[in-house]
Symmetry: D2
Subunit: 346 residues, 4 copies
């Protein structure tokens, strides 16, 4: 295989920087274009000094990119701006889109949650939802992958196999989710200042977060019928990490041990998903900087209920790491290529 020329659109945000980190030293993919409209002309080192040792092209405006010389695109643009950009790409370009623009298959749902009609409905039909472990075959042959949201990734990895196996009921799924602040991006907002975030916690988007319909879509597909979920995200005083604590009703007779057994079976050979031993609690710091997802299940005090927990790094398995995992797959490479960094702890 000759080297794949990769463009990162929106390289001045956290998911863009994370892609640069994960691509460093990749044996097949080479970053040839990075865009950042407000930073055009600057070296990436002036935007992200931690990447200053890498040899990289300067940032350019998206309008100045020659996409004829690009084989693959990671699209890290804000939600809503992405559709037209991707619609304008040449046909030969392979795309992994990290925005929410192509995640909802229902154009009505998209319009409801994002406040405007979808601008590229034809493309939407072709997009493949990129939860790698669950959609591997479709991703392999896709030209446009809609990379999942971080919360949906942390929720679907444990729940989809359990729903498919009929081990949990789908009418009363309660998801209490907690995310590091990097999920809010790098734009300068008062609410995300250090002093506003450190040493405190709060919920946000209660019962109204845009990841709820994405979760419901995928759980519904697994269940074969519509699913509604309770979903409450919380902002945590940490940069990275995501924990979903999920309260479910068990199928009749099932116990947490059955959930653990099924998840262990399904994910036995997965390089990035781990099911912990009985009683061990997943901690976000044990996946920091890595593409891992750790899962466990516990019997609840409420009879017939279980508590499922899963952790990921929201910027890796919840965004850029899964995006690279998908692009590896789309180019016929081992999924794990350049993704085997161990977590950084402490």
């Amino acid at each position: 295989m000759s080297e794949v020329r990769v463009a990162i659109l929106g390289a001045s945000g956290y998911t863009g920087a994370e892609l640069v980190r994960l691509l460093a030293g990749h044996p097949e993919f080479r970053i040839t274009v990075m865009t950042g409209d407000r930073k055009a002309g600057q070296p990436l080192a002036s935007v992200f000094p931690h990447l200053g040792k890498l040899k990289l092209p300067d940032l350019v405006a998206i309008g100045d990119v020659d996409f004829g010389a690009v084989d693959a695109v990671f699209c890290c643009l804000p939600h809503g701006t992405t559709q037209e950009v991707i619609a304008g790409l040449p046909e030969h370009v392979t795309v992994v889109d990290l925005s929410a623009d192509f995640r909802l298959t229902s154009l009505d749902a998209y319009a409801t949650w994002y406040g405007h009609p979808h601008k590229a409905p034809e493309l939407q039909k072709k997009a493949v939802y990129g939860l790698t472990e669950l959609k591997r075959d479709a991703i392999r042959s896709a030209q446009l992958v809609a990379n999942p949201g971080c919360y949906p990734t942390s929720v679907q990895l444990p729940l989809v196999p359990l729903i498919k196996a009929g081990l949990i009921q789908v009418d009363d799924i309660i998801i209490d989710a907690k995310s590091g602040t990097s999920g809010a991006g790098r734009s300068a907002k008062e609410a995300n200042l250090y002093c506003e975030v450190t040493e405190g916690i709060h919920p946000y988007g209660v019962a109204s977060h845009r990841h709820a319909p994405e979760i419901e879509q995928e759980l519904g597909e697994a269940a074969g019928k519509p699913v509604l979920v309770a979903f409450t995200p919380h902002l945590m005083p940490m940069s990275r990490g995501m924990l979903s604590t999920i309260y479910v009703k068990l199928a009749k007779g099932a116990k947490a041990a059955d959930l653990r057994a099924e998840l262990s079976r399904v994910y036995a050979s997965e390089p990035f998903v781990g099911v912990l031993p009985e009683g061990a609690v997943p901690a976000t710091r044990h996946v920091r900087g890595s593409n891992f997802c750790l899962i466990n299940a516990f019997d609840d005090r409420l009879p017939g209920r279980a508590i499922i927990t899963s952790v990921i790094d929201n910027l890796v398995k919840g965004a850029s790491g899964q995006a690279l995992q998908n692009l590896n797959l789309m180019f016929g490479l081992p999924e794990t290529t350049n993704l085997e960094q161990q977590p950084l702890f402490p």
Copy 2:
């Protein structure tokens, strides 16, 4: 009233230090004794330099205290060691116990959860559970108050009035709770080292935390029948603060607005409990260092369900602040005496 001579037993821990902070400048209560067995003979400033400007007696061993010269005791000793100490106090001494030793009215429940029979069952019968806003009259005339746990405080303040009003169902209460690390105390454990806690989160004591039976006891009393709850605590990378996110089934026809209305009515004249306006989310940093509890309720996406959130500072309303609130009450003072510090933010 002549000055009340107050002893703090176990002043070398966080709740002890917090009592010293809250008592500084109190118009009626004067600290005359502080114990710390391993630190006996030392000034408090050597254990807690931040309190070095206060004029205070040195730490003494508990065996050396003349309780005849003490009017009131705050007991901040570890769970399990407290019963015998309190049983040995002279009759005239008023006690607020911050440990868990007298919270469970069922001696069987105590033995089950704490692993040994209760050592002062007669005293247990006299103990009054000290959730101030909910038990004010009984506390006023009590000689021994069992100060509630931090998690139970954060849960009962919103739930008890709603259960009493019949606005929520009691068979499916799911509590996802998050606590600052000071709740784990000051003892040196690897799990609580800075590097083990910062920038990460995890659940602990899943379905097995000792605050569950305390919550169930009090909710059951409000409901007039036994109540079981799902209860999952999580450790947060912050020193102080506690958030309970509570998922409940509504009574038929009820909405979150009804919960808010009832809580607003019940707590209208309470100095320390606030019900936020529709849509506003409680944040722990907005109660840091204060005795406040902030509450709100939201309609869930799941029909017939609501999400209730409440925040406290675990060391203040969740421990030492409520203890002082109770002692104020027991001595006929305004509850708010010396407790009106505003939260510290940022």
Copy 3:
């Protein structure tokens, strides 16, 4: 004394909020006006929910204030905008200005460091520099106090008495200073986002920070001759707190013990300044939320040199606390009025 009507100009920033916190329950001062141009018409609770339990007037635009009904003003406006506002106040109004606008007595120095000529040079002549412990008499009779910067406060409290006593040389003073992030204010800047600040440190404004001339002015006054200092501030991953580590040459024959003795003598009866025992290190967390300054001195390994350390809370003794201390003084009240909160730890 009848109640003093106090206005806080710029109440939507951190120093404004801190003034509100410190003024809550003040026996003589009552907040009757709070301005916040972009938030005019809003209750303070919408800007600072942690203050939502206080009864306060809504925010107004500064142009709408009737200063005839105001007795005293805390001015928390950005540097450079303050001069014209204060120049326009009625004569009867007492002012404590927390900006840098009136700190530099040399109009040339002001123009050099702030990039434009001073706009109220007549007022500048009347302004009194408000380092309370060092300028108490002048402050008592001042109508306009220029409240010192946080770094200068932390440096002058230890150095000015030592320079006056001739115990240290003034030609080689090296100040390595570290500040919490609240010193950067509440404006939304990428550099102050949580993810940019947490778990990391860096110097800034190396050899070019605007607090250097303020420090040099006051040390020069103490020395009776011009003084230059090395001054390197660093941004710390914490909200509050400031530590200055100061490297000085001793006068011939002097030792750290002499410095400690002199500082202990000078500050013996000061309520807010503490000199620690030999070997004890000041820590910012031991003054958090309080108006205290803690100081110590150590012999250096380099012969003839000493290391002096001092800590304050940058928002209290470094800003709003000292401002209140000054206004207390200007109105003939005990300096400590409403300022005796103990530090919040942990």
Copy 4:
């Protein structure tokens, strides 16, 4: 080359875990032994869950190791316990010692600072001080490398070349250093609890830290005469990262630009040392998780003085990363082998 069998002695501490992280996927080195006396028999995953996905041997007691089957040893044991262990190893074993036991060439200095005579003086003579960039040739042929301390690494990288070039004076070097808490290790001490460290800073070991003689030894070697330094370490509320802010007198006529030029020249081809452009400040977060050291120099306000800053990750270039860099060198591999991870930010 056949695979090198590597033992990590003391794998249950932070430097041990960091070695495991950095060795994962190494093309030539394979971990065949890990010791942890108190954890013997346990899998590493029970001690460090973040490494649970790696295939590794269980922990064993050091007394049970067959060193005949080991080619190289990383020694991460506590200071003072290491000498006898290393003295007992078979002759064929190559050693990188991360403790302080072999860093001081003067046995007198060792006895003075560590409180007991050195137990392996013959070995001490053979040990090579392992600051890779400065001692590369000696390291290449060494059998025992004394891996430098974290503070000394951050100080020597900028200062040694400048001293050798005669650009700075050596009689008045003032080092204000700041370290993340992981430098204190994983042992359970009250002082290192989350609540004791977060949101605050303090100096420690003022003028008495054991890294001072190590720094002085190496700077003295560069200067060709004895050197004393002022050295004040500070504990920072962050897990990783180290910043040294160094105040120096310039040689006559020299400016910061000359320092930058010399450092740029010396380190032009070094993969792990970067000299930043004029005015850019090194930040610890820009080297987190990597083996990089970033340096810059600034003219001071004090005439004839400069301020030099350098940052490293104390666990990587300050410990385990440099240890691997050294072992790579000792086995004839490219120094960068498996060390090219980019920093983790945010």
